[in-house]
């Protein structure tokens, strides 16, 4: 499947607005190893919801808004594919602790925020959108599965698609079994292949065998981020896109792989 990448955004410690993040991803600026995750409160949300918005919501809304605008689409105008391997692991942890306690009465707000599609729900509420959204949770294959799904929807529906990936730090004890120690999000707007002003063209194909080793980012600083978050796998694609060189990537997906040829 050939699609054009017409918008992108990323947030992680040391990676902010596209202008700054692009320079780091392209290797023009070093990643500041001491930087903290810098996320503004999501302006799209009502003040009440903004105050209560957890980290996953802030991670996702920042990249969705920036990538949509870069692609020339109003936030909420595009159908969405959201991928998160852990969902809101911190909220789930809190609920599990309550359920194990002597007083297992749950908070209704926490409960509805624990659904895997809560973040996607806040995106559509924030933008007043009626566009369809799907939400995937595929453990270490979340990036590969979500990208494949987004490209297939883009081709099948012949329209641009917003792909959003996010994961937030996990709390112990689940965090001992699922390493996610930094917040990281990325968004990609894919459009049916077209000539002209795209960040890159992507040829994406699934093969059911020959799972390769996980490709790593080139820059050592990015490799550290990549290790700390399951959807950090998206950094490898972002790096390839910003370095303006044709490159072939292969990501493991189950026993198979997703091959991506990046044409700047």
């Amino acid at each position: 499947m050939r699609v054009s990448l017409i918008g992108a955004a990323v947030r992680a410690p040391g990676l902010g607005s596209w202008e700054q993040a692009r320079a780091v991803l392209a290797g023009e600026l070093p990643l500041d190893p001491d930087a903290l995750l810098d996320l503004p409160p999501p302006a799209l949300l009502s003040p009440n919801e903004r105050r209560r918005a957890g980290l996953p919501v802030r991670l996702a809304l920042a990249v969705c808004e920036e990538a949509s605008r870069m692609a020339g689409h109003e936030p909420g105008a595009l159908p969405g594919i959201f991928g998160s391997s852990n969902g809101d692991g911190a909220v789930v942890h809190d609920l599990l602790e309550t359920l194990a306690s002597a007083d297992p009465q749950l908070s209704p707000t926490r409960f509805h925020n624990s659904v895997h599609n809560a973040v996607a729900g806040y995106w559509s509420i924030a933008t007043g959108s009626s566009a369809p959204i799907t939400v995937l949770g595929c453990h270490d294959a979340t990036f590969a599965a979500s990208l494949l799904k987004a490209a297939s929807e883009c081709v099948a529906e012949a329209m641009p698609i917003l792909l959003c990936l996010y994961d937030a730090p996990m709390k112990l004890p689940l965090g001992a079994l699922r390493t996610t120690t930094i917040g990281l999000s990325a968004a990609f707007v894919l459009a049916p292949a077209r000539p002209g002003a795209a960040l890159a063209d992507l040829d994406i194909a699934f093969t059911p065998d020959a799972a390769p080793p996980e490709p790593e980012p080139i820059a050592p600083g990015l490799r550290s981020l990549w290790r700390q978050n399951p959807v950090g796998r998206g950094l490898v694609l972002l790096e390839a896109v910003t370095r303006k060189q044709p490159v072939s990537l292969a990501f493991p997906y189950g026993r198979g792989q997703i091959a991506i040829v990046v044409q700047p």
């Binding site: 749950l106 509805h112 009626s130 799907t134 595929c138 689940l174 699934f206 189950g254």
Partner: protein, 396 residues
């Protein structure tokens, strides 16, 4: 969309395992709902519990996936020759040309609930038997089903709350339409757990009595558990079978846990499903409503159906039989719709005694017999997700 034929199906819910038991319960108007006796969770109300699930054993070599949700999936997979049918599809298409796209809202979270009660008092860590990847994670369901079926195409878990398995059908249709695969195993599983029971209780949405969708005295939902699967292919294997003819989706963009009161998003999903099937409202012979039994859902859904279909199309919610099976309700109700089409059955709105005077829908307390060719089946979820499926006999 190109019709996708349901060349094999399988399901298990509290009304029974397999299509014969399900059809029998429908024909006998026999509900599965009974007072909540799950894990000493004293919230009142009734549940649709699959009896004997605790004794189900996963096949040899699949122990890493053991949890209530995967046991339920395994119970369903063994019904109606599904495993053999998938083997046939592997022969036709190749194992790598079949996707597995399944919906679940809570996967194996019950395992984590048990593990959190057994944390090491000194370290706070979880017991050794707890397996995050195999028995808790959302992806566990799709990996287990794909591995057991021997399918090696892309596997993915969709989690959009109570619309999960309906949305999985749309995601699978994209994979087929774009040529990534030739066929897909779709469906999903959701099982009883403390999070769901106590969560809906915290929202005051659990009916103290058996749920009564669209009744004037309805007081909320009854939670059930179920798993269902369908094999979707472009070519039918036999004459007279049923196909997925259209799918529509939308979001409310309104509230996390309350539907938009006028049902604007619900109507949009149904309209998009009709457009995707290139059908008109008049082509739909029956609507399997989401019909949870909450005051808000049933009222908004009735308004949406009225605007699109008027008030004469026969409607029913089948949640009075099965309970609200969360993320699996979409596939379960699509499979019930398929059974109804193949058996000339217009199902009753089980639990209904006196229709809410504010609701102008054709709902009956008992089953009717009629030829129905096409059914609209609705699934709505938290986060404002709406998905409508059109199931029916494809045009020749």
């Amino acid at each position: 969309m190109t019709p996708l034929h349901l060349t094999a199906t399988a399901l298990a819910s509290a009304v029974g395992a397999g299509s014969a038991a399900t059809l029998d319960a429908l024909r006998q108007e026999r509900s599965s709902l009974a007072p909540c006796d799950f894990e000493e969770i004293a919230i009142g109300g009734q549940i649709g519990r699959v009896r004997g699930l605790e004794q189900v054993e996963l096949p040899a070599g699949f122990g890493e996936y053991d949890c209530r949700n995967n046991r339920l999936a395994w119970l369903a997979l063994q019904q109606d020759g599904f495993i053999e049918a998938v083997r046939g599809a592997i022969g036709r298409h190749g194992a790598g040309r079949i996707a597995v796209v399944l919906g679940t809202s809570t996967s194996g979270i019950l395992s984590a609930e048990t593990a959190y009660r057994a944390r090491d008092p000194a370290t706070g860590l979880l017991p050794d038997w707890f397996r995050y990847d195999g028995s808790y994670d959302l992806f566990s369901l799709s990996r287990f089903v794909a591995d057991r079926l021997g399918v090696t195409g892309p596997a993915m878990t969709v989690s959009t709350a109570c619309a999960s398995s309906a949305r999985a059908c749309l995601d699978a249709s994209h994979l087929i339409a774009s040529g990534v695969v030739d066929a897909a195993v779709v469906g999903g599983a959701d099982s009883l757990c403390g999070l769901t029971l106590r969560g809906f209780d915290s929202l005051d949405l659990i009916s103290p009595e058996r749920c009564r969708p669209f009744d004037a005295a309805r007081r909320g939902i009854s939670i059930g558990e179920a798993a269902g699967f369908a094999l979707l292919e472009r070519e039918p294997l036999r004459e007279g079978g049923v196909a997925l003819l259209g799918i529509g989706a939308s979001t409310d963009g309104y509230h996390m846990s309350s539907p938009q009161p006028d049902g604007i998003g619900a109507e949009q999903a149904m309209r998009r499903a009709l457009a995707s099937a290139t059908l008109d409202a008049a082509d739909i012979h029956h609507v399997n409503l989401h019909g949870t039994g909450t005051r808000a859902n049933d009222l908004m859904e009735a308004r949406a159906v009225n605007r699109l279909f008027g008030s004469d199309v026969p409607c029913a919610s089948t949640k009075g039989w099965t309970g609200h099976c969360m993320g699996s309700s979409g596939i379960v109700e699509a499979l019930i719709a398929s059974l109804c089409i193949e058996n000339d059955l217009l199902p009753a709105c089980h639990g209904l005694e006196t229709r809410d005077p504010e609701i102008a829908l054709d709902l009956e307390r008992h089953n009717r017999t009629a030829r129905i060719d096409r059914v609209m089946s609705n699934s709505f979820g938290f986060g404002g997700v709406n998905v409508s499926l059109v199931i029916g006999r494809p045009a020749r």
